[in-house]
């Protein structure tokens, strides 16, 4: 969803709603696909569980992140717009 150009709503940057990447720890069982598909934002700890970078996802990574989330075998990787 696009923001109003003149009066950006809170949570909007660069004309887009900011998106956060999140892992549902109850569903994640450390397949590690996310780190493979999105190494710019996700790395794995010693046990193979993902560690995410801080802050909102850069706009340039949103599409890759979406594909990584779709590829997660347990659907534990989630894209969340701010304020949701």
């Amino acid at each position: 969803m696009l923001c109003e150009a003149r009066a950006p709503r809170p949570g909007c940057t660069r004309d887009r709603i900011t998106v956060h990447l999140r892992v549902n720890p109850l569903d994640c069982i450390a397949h590690g696909l996310c780190a493979e598909l999105l190494p710019e934002w996700v790395r794995l700890d010693e046990s193979g569980y993902p560690l995410l970078a801080d802050g909102p996802l850069p706009a340039a990574l949103v599409e890759t992140a979406r594909r990584a989330a779709q590829a997660c075998p347990t659907r534990a990787l989630l894209l969340e717009p701010d304020g949701s």
Partner: protein
């Protein structure tokens, strides 16, 4: 029975003001409603109070949650009301902290205080139901559910509100708190509406007294930011361990003196296993109020205070509690399960002088990486405790890493760790 006493900030005049909550403490539990009303005075007829009036008096009293976050209770009540979902009050007496006894002691000895508070909270937020969560074990560790029996008896005799005791639902007592947190988090993660808006009341004691005596009476004790008194459970190197009612803002040294603390204290744990250690050098000048403690990065948390004496090895104690943390995880989230196990194993190698060169760096990394990656805050609290121990007892840890176990390592354990793995 555990020792119950009181400590105050201002000496003689304040003595008359404390005890408040524990005013009814005697030889016998006060389960009869008439005895309770005789000791604390009649509860005002709640039907005469509009819910918002109750919230207002709680706000004027400045009551803050006693569960650790120290959040204003009135704000929380309004937030629950604003959510327009079925409301329920949970008075959580099923304390999960091994060293905490205050909730069970209160439910065993003065259950009507908790029921009063639950009834007022229910009236204030428009809840039709209040759950009193009770522990299976009593506060002396015996599997004699005296608190449970006393509370249920008190519920039956209560004319204030019809409270429905819930029989035990799982292995770990009545709706164990940790389990509830995980369950709610699980629901939220799947984006379904939680079944009800819960206002958990660990502070379900003071409202009964505030409704009786008013906001300004409540503010006669404590600090401007943290009015009133609080219950704490003190143990460790003290002659008189037990549950104490303290005025917020009292110097920690006064409490330790009252309890007969040993004069060779090395450190004090504040806030239990989700809290932090303070070296004995920082104890003078420390005042027991949430805001005052925040300056030291500490918190009263669940009210557990443990004094560590010179004859106890802090490294052996930390290793045992690290094992306990690893053993007690609910096992739901990978970073918690694998992370706490790795921490426990590595602490053990430090304690026995067999640590790899990477041990310190690993521990530092794990204690910062594990928090916020579970569905509940259990791994966060455990990591904070370990990081705090590594920091405060750094010299001792280095000594053990070089020379292995010390002569105090096999001393009698001080920090309780029920059900922890047995290690060599």
């Amino acid at each position: 029975m555990g020792q119950m006493a009181f400590v105050n900030t201002t000496g003689v005049t304040a003595v008359a003001l404390l005890p408040r909550l524990l005013a009814g403490m005697g030889d016998q539990p006060v389960t009869a409603l008439a005895s309770h009303l005789g000791l604390y005075g009649p509860l005002p007829d709640l039907r005469g109070w509009a819910p918002e009036q109750l919230v207002e008096v709680v706000e004027q009293a400045g009551l803050r949650g006693r569960g650790g976050a120290s959040f204003p209770v009135a704000t929380k009540m309004r937030a629950v009301v604003a959510r327009r979902r079925p409301r329920i009050v949970v008075a959580n007496g099923a304390e999960g902290e091994p060293a905490s006894k205050k909730d069970r002691a209160l439910l065993r000895e003065l259950p009507h205080l908790v029921l009063d508070g639950a009834a007022i909270a229910a009236r204030a937020i428009g809840a039709r139901e209040a759950i009193i969560a009770l522990s299976e074990n009593d506060d002396r560790g015996a599997r004699r559910p005296l608190a449970r029996r006393a509370a249920i008896r008190a519920v039956r005799r209560s004319r204030v509100l019809h409270l429905r005791p819930i029989e035990r639902t799982g292995q770990r007592g009545v709706r164990g708190t940790g389990e509830t947190d995980v369950r709610l988090a699980a629901i939220r993660a799947r984006r379904q509406a939680p079944p009800d808006a819960r206002a958990e009341r660990r502070d379900a004691r003071a409202p009964g007294l505030i409704a009786r005596h008013g906001a300004s009476w409540f503010r006669q004790l404590g600090t401007a930011h943290d009015p009133g008194s609080a219950l704490v459970t003190l143990s460790g190197a003290v002659a008189r361990p037990g549950v104490y009612e303290i005025e917020h803002g009292v110097p920690l040294t006064d409490l330790l003196e009252t309890a007969g603390a040993s004069d060779d204290l090395t450190a004090v744990l504040l806030g239990g296993y989700f809290g932090s250690w303070l070296p004995a050098t920082q104890v003078p000048g420390l005042r027991l109020a949430p805001q005052a403690l925040a300056d030291y990065g500490a918190s009263l948390g669940c009210g557990v205070i443990i004094a560590l004496g010179g004859d106890t090895c802090p490294v052996a104690e930390t290793a045992r509690i690290a094992d306990y943390f690893a053993a007690q995880t609910a096992g739901q989230c990978g970073p918690c399960v694998s992370g706490l196990a790795a921490i426990a194993d590595t602490i053990r190698t430090l304690a026995t002088g067999t640590a790899p060169g990477t041990a310190w760096r690993d521990l530092e990394r794990w204690t910062t990486e594990i928090p916020r990656r579970g569905a509940c805050q259990y791994p966060d609290g455990a990591s904070r405790f370990i990081a705090s121990a590594l920091n405060v007892f750094a010299d001792e840890f280095h000594r053990h890493a070089r020379h292995g176990r010390c002569e105090r390592c096999s001393a009698r354990p001080v920090l309780p760790a029920p059900g922890a793995r047995v290690t060599a």
